[in-house]
Symmetry: C2
Subunit: 450 residues, 2 copies
């Protein structure tokens, strides 16, 4: 952005500061894409020219209008806990930190209405005070914002019961603003709201979200161990399908992952670990089912006593498993894969036998299309990008879906296809194509074709 | 039972009255097996010689000891809402009405401990006062007892989320007494408790049960209508799999059943009806999904305002649908069938097309082995027992499981096989074979072989 544009932008923003401090620019333009050596290289040096930190929707509107008027790219950021460079501006411009819009607006009757920058932990705590809780939390819930989760996340803790935040009924509506001379704000409900889901903020500026909640539960956390990985898999599949056990988490770590991610004191070497959160009364049933697969409960604790601290087992699940391992081990990266229900056990075994120690199995059991299955957050001993792509290709060739976490392109990640609803929403709310440009290939191609 | 035995029994029972009034004997020996013309005929004239109505475990023990000492058959009864003659004594003897043991012992931390004769509605209300509720209720919950439900029931309202009461984690333990010179009482947990599940009281006298609860929910009741039955089926399958919608009930009635069971004011002639209970915030999602199948919400109401009354939609579901229709229409009976997940939609359509109006489709969607599927409580235009058996056989020949509700034999009903755990429990708690004799074929055959 040239100095001239910057000055006019600053003038339009009035008392809203335009931060250009180089340390801040560098820090705010980054997320957790350093998990991926590929993304680390690809996003090297990409950064915003300026940062704004609005604290009200009126200020957001000022930013949206100013960026539109001066045709300046605008990229949104929550807490920067994404893994795919969602908040990294590819073409400079303004980075808008949404974390100042952090109000929990209301909680009533099983619903939470919040501003986009509200942290999930704060929403969850506010909900718990009223007897409810969030259905889904990423492992980054202590930092992550509502808007960041919806725009760049998927699910996590809770997905074993509620699937993803994109499933109908989990997010009831969002309020989103357009980039225009006179930015408009509209409420999008149900299916329309989902056109803004997992779009990296390319197709609208979400200012508020409405989450469906679930009644607060007396969760018990348990670590179990199993003699072999496949016994752990079969246990998880059985527990996943056990409708009488209410579940919030069901994670399986193949040896040596428990040792690598800080669970060595609970789980002996050579054994697979299962981490779960279940309703307290279910512990007897869990123990009974585990015994059928030669497993045992190693340790348990009341989630209420460790919630929000590093002592909670959720710290070792979903992307936090990867985080802990990456921090301690070199030449490691990871994969995100989805196994189809009914064949997931068989396919997991096939991949496990094929790759051995090169692709270490971390499975998260969840609901997909209403059925119990698992996703993989495999930990990979990284050699080259070519080999990484071979590994991905082998999975795909064998019917295992891979959501490549080594790309910042929307369509190359989870969905592997153009989402017409997302595209139409971009046409509607960002006709000038200023929001997070370069992330949505279908938009860029549409532009090139026009 | 001869007068001599009766007198000795009465002497042993002390102040516990032995009721022999003939009207009472007739009434207490019957349940709702009049749903079935086959059972009505088969059970004609079967009745107890005497009734006891204990109000404490000590009195139950006296009955168990006395019946054992004098080798008198002992049959247990809750509220008599069973449909298979569970409480009808085939060989006379004593009928023990358990409804006097009606205490809710305690409710804490997501668990309810109750006496066997406690009514489900009373347990549920007590749980709700503490922020919990029962996971599963039969449509007879206003009358049915905890023990009767566990020993002769399956699931019902709630099964779309929690499966059956036989699924691990739903019933945590039972306290059961043996028939012996010195009756013993023991606590059976988890898998052992399930050996007493759905055994019609043939293998132990349950005096207490421990139910896992679920946090109380703001249920909304809705009636929807669809132009065709198959659109209704596809809607239910989709809603059943929608993890973001919390569900307690999902019932589908093909035309003309809505007209026959009292829903004509809500649902137009020729249309299929869906009755559901979902979390209140999910109504938008339900409406959205319904629209995809050309359906619409006809009426909705707050479950809290109609709970426990005939106004609740649950009055038109599960076996209550059948009840309302049987009361108004002649030459009608019913079927109980189970469709396997993943092929249920296809098989339902096949049966629907094959039988047309002779087998009117009433489906209850539920979880089986963790997956969404449906069971059928088809309403049948009854002609002969031979034709009824043909209908059952056609279902079985085409891979549809039929739990024949036209038999009082345990093994010919739901499971279609001997349950070794049930049999072993009978050997342990009722070695003399006095409990509800004639209902468990595998025991009788074992006796004949010995």
């Amino acid at each position: 952005m040239d100095q001239n544009t910057m000055q006019r932008l600053a003038a339009d923003l009035g008392d809203l500061e335009l931060i250009t401090d180089s340390t801040a620019l560098q820090r705010y333009s980054k997320d957790f894409s350093w998990f991926s050596p590929v993304l680390t290289e690809a996003l090297e040096g990409k950064r915003a020219d300026a940062i704004v930190r609005p604290t009200s929707e009126e200020q957001v509107r000022r930013v949206a209008a100013a960026c539109y008027r001066h045709r300046v790219p605008l990229t949104l950021r929550g807490s920067g806990t994404g893994n795919y460079g969602q908040c990294t501006p590819l073409r400079g411009g303004v980075l808008m930190d949404m974390s100042g819009l952090n109000k929990v607006l209301w909680i009533a009757d099983g619903v939470a209405r919040v501003q986009a920058g509200a942290r999930l932990v704060d929403i969850d705590n506010a909900a718990r005070e009223k007897g409810w809780e969030l259905r889904l939390l990423p492992s980054t819930y202590r930092l992550a914002t509502a808007g960041g989760f919806f725009c760049g996340g998927f699910g996590g803790i809770g997905s074993i019961t509620y699937g993803s935040i994109g499933d109908p009924g989990n997010v009831l509506g969002v309020r989103a603003m357009s980039l225009a001379e006179q930015p408009e704000v509209a409420e999008f409900r149900s299916a329309e709201a989902r056109d803004l889901y997992h779009a990296y903020g390319v197709n609208g500026v979400i200012t508020e979200l409405e989450f469906a909640l679930t009644p607060a539960m007396n969760w018990q956390e348990a670590v179990l161990s199993f003699p072999s990985f496949m016994e752990g898999v079969r246990f998880c599949q059985t527990l996943g399908r056990a409708t009488g056990v209410i579940k919030k988490l069901l994670t399986l770590l193949a040896d040596p992952l428990p040792q690598m991610c800080g669970l060595g004191k609970d789980v002996g070497e050579g054994r697979a670990a299962v981490l779960c959160l279940v309703n307290r009364a279910a512990l007897e049933a869990v123990e009974e089912i585990a015994a059928n697969f030669n497993g045992r409960i190693e340790r348990q604790q009341d989630n209420a006593e460790v919630y929000g601290t590093a002592k909670s087992l959720v710290e070792h699940t979903w992307n936090h498993t990867t985080l802990h391992i990456l921090r301690k081990h070199k030449d490691i990266t990871y994969l995100q894969s989805g196994f189809r229900p009914w064949e997931n056990v068989e396919k997991v075994e096939q991949m496990y036998r094929h790759f051995g120690d090169e692709v270490m199995m971390h499975l998260e059991f969840l609901k997909a299309d209403g059925a119990v299955t698992c996703s993989g957050l495999q930990v990979i001993r990284y050699t080259t990008e070519e080999r990484l792509n071979q590994i991905i290709q082998y999975h795909r060739d064998n019917g295992v879906h891979v959501s490549n976490p080594h790309t910042y392109i929307l369509e190359d990640g989870g969905k592997l296809s153009v989402d017409p609803g997302q595209l139409a929403m971009k046409q509607r709310l960002d006709p000038a194509g200023l929001l997070n440009p370069g992330k949505m290939r279908s938009w860029d191609e549409k532009g090139a074709a026009a």
